[in-house]
Amino acid sequence: MSGRARAKRVNRTLIAGLVLVGGFALAALAAPLIAPYDPIFQDGTARIQPPSLTHPFGTDNFGRDILSRIIYGARVDLQMAVIGVFFPLVIGTVIGAIAGFFGGVVDAVLMRLIDIILAFPFLVLMLSIIAILGPGLSSFYIAMALVGWVSYARLIRAQILVLKNADYAVAAVSLGFSWRRVLFRHLLPNSVAGSLVFCMSDAVLVLLSGAAISYLGLGVQPPTAEWGIMVAEGQAFLSQAWWITLFPGLSIVLLAFGFSMIGDALGEAMGVHE
């Protein structure tokens, strides 16, 4: 396919992805304006109502409006996806870059650390940290950051290992540039493309980890509206009230879809694949 036709397809995917994610971001920002109800208000007289005109997505077992909760939930979930990816990305990039660039002992030590973290059961870490710090978003972020950076570190390290032998890196060294300049100005910008693509699917994994933690009962503090916890709580009513789980579930899917489309487009544009 010609470059232009590819560019066009990339653009379409990118725009669709941005529209989806942007839509959720807008909903999150404008939540107080567009949400028809208070997301934590419990209406004892309207418990477990199927979707209707007054409650387009129905109500849950407390009589809370699910649409409003989804809109407010976008705030938490977007934040989770962004923060849950951002810190691992930054930490992993720096560590991976340093390991790959210096090699030798530094690399060997960091790689063993990475091996340990990879081999370390994620669940033990997650649950312990949540138990130590108490359930809530911050423990979630810390646990994600402690574990998540490993993937990025591996990606970046592999890239740097290849690139540091590239002629332009050797050229930079031969021109008397400091290692910081060589690594951070010349090598890093050329090696982050793969990680940026991976970010997008990672964001989805973060949301799902959050949902799994909610299932185990250690999700965010009630009565916070968060999609994962909504699905987890609603599953008790799965057979009698499908709408309690379906809509937040769909929201996760749509956001995931948006992210993966952005990822696909970025990947195609930068010529890298997951």
Binding site: M1, R9, R112, L113, D115, I116, L118, A119, F120, P121, F122, L123, V124, L125, L127, S128, I129, A131, I132, S151, S201, V204, L208, A211, A212, Y215, L216, G228, V231, A232, Q235, L238, S239, T245, G249, I252, V253, L254, L255, A256, F257, S260, G267, H273, E274
Partner: protein
């Protein structure tokens, strides 16, 4: 044969990893607030009873001493006693390994069975509607929480149309497979999407590559071009991806295990964490760590076997 010489070296790397995992687990679980003795005794706990239990399990010793004991036990091939079950941790784990292992194995096989043909179909029809459809459907697999998918499958394929059992684990091989069908399918639905995406991407690349052009220029029909040249070249990058994902699975089957009431290690682990059953957490973490290292090791062997250029 020296391409495979890492097989001899690698087991040495087991040691620091397993040691590291044990140390971190040890410190981490003991940092969790909450006292196993109190959990065991519940509401009726009295201080003397608590002290009794703590003494019995050596919890009143200083931390470093407890770790030394742990290491000494480990050297003797023991992992200590479960506080809750009061039996040897290794024995406890022994009864739980099989379901988890079988679950992971089935899920991985099933994912491969789902992912490879679909990826091939999508890649060979790149840009057409069937490609878009497959990619769209695969996003659903990634996006829905497994516990939701699992329950849906259960309601559909076990209650509405009773093809598979709702939950549990069987006794005979066939029985076990029947019980594993739904949980494996649940995992495979999400795992296969990850595989599918990476395989498809690689296949699309290789379909455009010089190697395929060369094969076509030799007059090879498309089927030979695809199965003999594109596929073998495309699987190498997915092996690593699969390994990382199996690594996640090893510690992450708990949700599926508890939904499908599989008596596996994930459930054991979560219960142990909640009840502060230190020795069990420790033991399971070590087994998981070893399994992960082993999987990565196997993945390395597979990579070397698949791609003759790779040296480790």
């Amino acid at each position: 044969m020296h391409r495979y010489s890492f097989i001899l070296m690698r087991p040495l790397q087991f040691v620091p990893v397993v040691f590291g995992v044990s140390l971190i687990t040890f410190i981490l679980v003991r940092m969790i607030p909450g006292d196993p003795a109190r959990v065991l005794l519940g509401a009726r706990a009295t201080p003397t009873a608590i002290a009794n239990i703590r003494a019995q399990f050596g919890l009143d010793e200083p931390l470093w001493l407890q770790y030394l004991y742990f290491l000494r036990n480990l050297a003797n091939g023991e992992m200590g006693m479960s506080i809750v079950y009061r039996i040897d941790v290794l024995r406890l784990i022994g009864t739980r390994i099989e379901p988890t292992f079988a679950l992971i194995l089935c899920s991985v096989l099933l994912s491969i069975l789902i992912a490879v043909p679909l990826a091939a179909l999508a890649a060979r029809n790149q840009g057409r509607s069937i490609d878009h459809a497959i990619r769209f459907a695969s996003t659903f697999g990634i996006g829905f929480p497994p516990f939701w998918l699992g329950l849906m499958l259960m309601m559909l394929l076990a209650v509405k149309y009773p093809i598979f059992p709702v939950s549990g684990y069987g006794e005979t091989l066939g029985d076990k497979l029947a019980h594993l069908a739904l949980p494996s399918l649940t995992i495979a639905l999400s795992l296969s999407t990850v595989l599918l995406r990476s395989l498809r991407a690689a296949m699309v690349d290789w379909l455009k590559s010089d190697v395929t052009t060369a094969a076509r220029a030799r007059g090879m029909p498309e089927s030979i071009v695809f199965w003999r040249h594109v596929l073998p070249n495309s699987i190498a990058p997915s092996i690593n991806l699969l390994a990382v994902n199996i690594g996640w699975l090893i510690g992450g089957t708990v949700v599926i295990e508890s939904i499908f009431a599989l008596p596996g290690m994930g459930q054991l682990l979560v219960r142990a964490i909640f009840s502060r059953d230190y020795m069990v957490v420790q033991g399971v973490a070590m087994v998981f760590a070893c399994a992960t290292v082993l999987v990565n090791f196997l993945a390395d062997i597979a990579t070397v076997a698949v791609d003759p250029r790779v040296k480790l």
